[in-house]
Symmetry: C2
Subunit: 226 residues, 2 copies
DNA sequence: CAAGGCAATATTTTCGAAAATCTATGTTTA
DNA sequence: TAAACATAGATTTTCGAAAATATTGCCTTG
């Protein structure tokens, strides 16, 4: 893997996880030392992150971590509903046995990790958070991967990352994951998907995202200007 | 404007217009001379174009112009239907007077240019093509700009560019724009939008994109493997 | 004659310095 | 005192060379 790719992954994670908070100026010299690489890989990483909308860049004035706001969160959530619901519908229509197997596997991997993590003391370590995060992503991606549209999958990826920026900071110090997350919504969703009930599945997915949004809106509260 | 930004615009246009054909290897040294800038701005431009899916990059093996295929074209078209129809619906619901005025203005600007261009000899000059292209983009963007979702607008932009890659090569040497393009579909669409008939407008938009797709599929014919 | 390895070439990736640009501070002047 | 200008500092942008890596062609060897 090239240095630029490594830098991209690291900065991306630091932004999602909140180590680099919203609106933080990203001085090139500083990042160069922090990640131990030269200017070029850093610049390349920052450029890629810009099209992920994780950093913003004004010409000749440098990069900063993209701001967050309740409005942007809801924009991302609603856009995600639109795109993933359509992708899920197509997956359910076109998905074969291998796809079903992948969904089941991803679900169980997520649940296993979620349960083991729920027994750990807070705050969770960076490694545990990352592992949980990866499996959560894998599950949601497995649902829609049968849609046979690279564009929709790309868009879903971008929106997933964006929404994680809001979900994540609340995960680290949160009490053990509430039953809502572990048992109910994900399982019901998977069952409905496997039953090939597209209407109900998309409705569940939409409700899942929106309820998460409402909870986060509560938690953000006065912080929405951050 | 920075050199990187200029390089980005130029390479982007050269790919859309077909001057740099699909699968063409993009040697850095070569591009450096072609656009008269150093390595860094070129690399930055190429990186941005990669996330637009106009170029592909395999690590340590360089950049190439992204391939095209009928399958990819239809993926882009159908994704565009999904996203723009939803955005159009929201525009129609939320758009104010200023939005309506913008739609009307963009439509007339497009028609004016289309009519003047239709009287010009073929093949059209690069400048005329660019001007027509800009107004076509402006019209379609005006329709959905009232949707109040930056994410949907971003996605629509990406898909617009992608579909232009297929439409454009047929424009340069084509006979004067057929009546279908000039008079009928765009005007009917605008009228319906201004009448705030969301159901009919989205159906027209969908039909507009799909019929374009069918025509292009015909024209591509055996070239789909290119 | 084919297959594997080695050297030569081509290309990308990375780096550090130089140039260009912006921001902040202090000085002068009306 | 306030506004305008000039200077100094900080930061980004750009460049060209050096390092790292892949590809190609040739030679050796079985």
């Amino acid at each position: 893997m090239t240095l630029a790719e490594q830098a991209y992954q690291k900065v991306r994670w630091d932004i999602i996880s909140g180590a680099l908070p919203p609106n933080q100026p990203l001085r090139l010299e500083q990042l160069k030392q922090r990640y131990g690489v030269g200017f070029s890989p850093i610049r390349e990483a920052l450029n890629r992150l810009q099209s992920d909308r994780l950093v913003v860049n004004v010409a000749l004035k440098g990069f900063t971590v993209a701001p967050i706001s309740a409005a942007d969160m809801w924009d991302a959530i609603e856009s995600r509903c639109l795109i993933e619901c359509d992708a899920l519908r197509r997956s359910i229509e076109k998905g074969d046995d291998a796809w079903e197997a992948q969904v089941v596997a991803a679900y169980h991997a997520l649940m296993l990790k979620a349960k083991s993590v729920s027994r750990l003391p807070r705050p969770l370590s960076e490694a545990e958070l990352r592992a949980l995060e990866d499996r959560h992503y894998a599950f949601h991606r497995a649902l829609i991967i049968g849609c046979q549209s690279q564009w929709l999958l790309d868009f879903a990826d971008k929106l997933y990352v964006e929404t994680e920026r809001y979900r994540f900071p609340n995960l680290r110090d949160a009490a053990p994951l509430p039953d809502r997350d572990i048992g109910n919504e994900h399982q019901t969703l998977m069952t409905t998907v496997l039953a090939r009930d597209a209407d109900k599945a998309t409705e569940l997915l939409r409700a899942h995202y929106r309820s998460t949004g409402h909870i986060l809106t509560e938690l953000m509260g006065p912080l929405t200007t951050a």
